[in-house]
Symmetry: C2
Subunit: 153 residues, 2 copies
DNA sequence: TTTATATAAGACCAATAAGGTCTCATTTGT
DNA sequence: ACAAATGAGACCTTATTGGTCTTATATAAA
């Protein structure tokens, strides 16, 4: 019951890109080094982030990654779910084949509740917010007032 | 990021025992069959439940399991954590060796928050409550008014 | 236009964890 | 004593995670 390494790495990566600002091209190696992510593994993770349009990847010499959205509009949930898929917590929630009475089960209802709670909280934290505080791999960054606050989407 | 099978089985098992009432001895096979849990696997799970004194195991012919506490005093959280250990969600929360700035990290703080939220919600649901509604493997049971409501511990 | 640098895509591999079984010992009712 | 049940832990199988490798492709710069 824990976030995968890939998920944590993705968060770090997006946080690093957020600090540099939307639209800034950063080499993969720089990110890997600063965020302590295995270089090749980051490549794989970045591809997933690109698939959901969070970043854009440019190839060739002087290639790298570019954040495509404003940090204030990116939620923690989005980044996490881009990597590990929609959070479910237990199997009954997704596949109704597991339990006999799925859909009408007191236990299941509790799991759905905590799952929604968890997703809501993660959805309520933007990378702009994270940037205003100290984090691993990153000193806090002063963010213009306009860009603080909760994510829109 | 999901509850293990063992965790789900444990919940079913305790729910079944709750329906029979505290102090009632039930054979392992009966539980395994009704709750659709592999017999031998249930044995292993039961041992973990016994270790935290949720149930008591009696050996020998006509042996089986006995619920040791009132369903209204057993929370979902307790049963789950008896099996999978304390819920953590991400590694930084437990082992500070993973990230560089653990203890003072915005990301980490969010994870701690959602983790506490999740644990609180699960802690707020008793098996007596679960019994009043329909569940997989179990028809709803009428529970005396006195025994409904939130868990004490 | 060649070369060096960088990523893409996916196959591939190693380590860990989950899910479950088996064996042998022990306990207890009859 | 014997049959019926569980205990404890080794053991096995499969799935997931975490990560690397290989070949191909794109681009900047010489
Ligand atoms: S639907 Fe799975 S526990 Fe009830
Ligand atoms: S402490 Fe692990 S992400 Fe910051």
């Amino acid at each position: 019951m824990r976030l995968t390494r890939a998920g944590e790495y993705a968060v770090r990566c997006v946080l690093y890109l957020s600090a540099k600002g939307k639209g800034t091209l950063i080499g993969r190696k720089e990110i890997a080094e600063h965020c302590d992510i295995p270089d090749k593994f980051l490549a794989k993770i970045a591809q997933q982030l690109a698939r959901v349009k969070l970043i854009e990847i440019s190839q060739g010499a002087r290639g790298g990654y570019v954040l495509k959205r404003e940090p204030r509009d990116i939620s923690l949930l989005e980044v996490v779910e881009a990597i590990i898929g929609e959070i479910a917590l237990n199997d009954c929630v997704t596949s109704s084949a597991v339990c006999r009475a799925s859909g009408n089960c007191a236990v299941n209802r509790v799991w759905i509740k905590v799952r929604n709670q968890l997703r809501d909280t993660l959805a309520g934290v933007s990378f702009a917010e994270l940037l205003t505080e100290d984090s691993c791999f990153l000193a806090p960054v002063s963010v213009p007032l306009d860009f603080r606050g909760k994510p829109k989407r």
